[in-house]
Symmetry: C2
Subunit: 189 residues, 2 copies
Amino acid sequence: MKLLTEKIISDGVAIGTEIVKVDSFLNHQIDINLIDQIGKEFFERYKNSGITKILTIEASGIAVASLTARYFDVPVVFAKKSEPSTMVDDKYTSLVKSFTKNKVSMVFVSKRYISKNDTVLIIDDFLAHGEALRGLIDIVNQADAKLAGAGIVIEKRFQNGGKPLREKGIRIESLAVIESIKDGKINFI
Amino acid sequence: MKLLTEKIISDGVAIGTEIVKVDSFLNHQIDINLIDQIGKEFFERYKNSGITKILTIEASGIAVASLTARYFDVPVVFAKKSEPSTMVDDKYTSLVKSFTKNKVSMVFVSKRYISKNDTVLIIDDFLAHGEALRGLIDIVNQADAKLAGAGIVIEKRFQNGGKPLREKGIRIESLAVIESIKDGKINFI
């Protein structure tokens, strides 16, 4: 997606060889017009998949998922990373490791909000090692729901999170794919 | 806001005398059409305030803030509850206590994304004891930005978070105001 790639080039910051900092428009400050265009693009790619629900994970996925859901006219469900006292329902759980925050979190989704009648589109801001995406797929499987695929804003292909999932036949649509980060430069596929 | 009050009556669950569970449409599963109408309502109330930025806090505030920001055509900034390794900038910090999660969190906003030239609208899903709102106001003050006011989806008036802030002259617009929760019934003002 040209608009997104241009934004990453102009406003993203390469840190070392692993990290691209995009918190000026994606995961701290949010450029709503850009995210709305991203939502429209996910809709174009999945509009014939019969999506009934969009699943994401707090916190950075929520804005993208919400603006995407407007196009599909379906609810968003976001997996929670800590269990509020109000969450008294039965829940699906999965373990997710965050490399940037260096911790493992249990994530939760109430069984009320994903069922075997759902066709789910998973949305997230990044695909790196694939931990969050695996956790969300695990929850879709526990719910016995149909997985249409995933919509990822930025995939860091060199961290290989997508490969084993695509090999299992899971559809992953990434709008910007980074091949490498080197000498302060972000190289796209 | 009639649509919201009706939704709370039909889908909200009263727990004890303090908690109303609205995770079927607001803070776990998200009813995007309803939240879009909520965003439009906040726009109607603040459209003449010269808003340049919407500030919220992860995670439940993000969907409401994002759909509100579309109407204002301004960016969203969400305060983070843990510090990612990519956050190398100078930051504003404030301490926020969550009653439902029973913990105190340090929240962060990068100094890059709120400045003295901003007029800020704070958006959040709940106003109860006012801890999150006070933390966000503290950050707006640290940035020397102008605070236009706050837009709250549900205010639990009996927990008194809004009173001391309104007495200081802070504008708070709550779309549904709960007076009490008793015998499984939610009573609105």
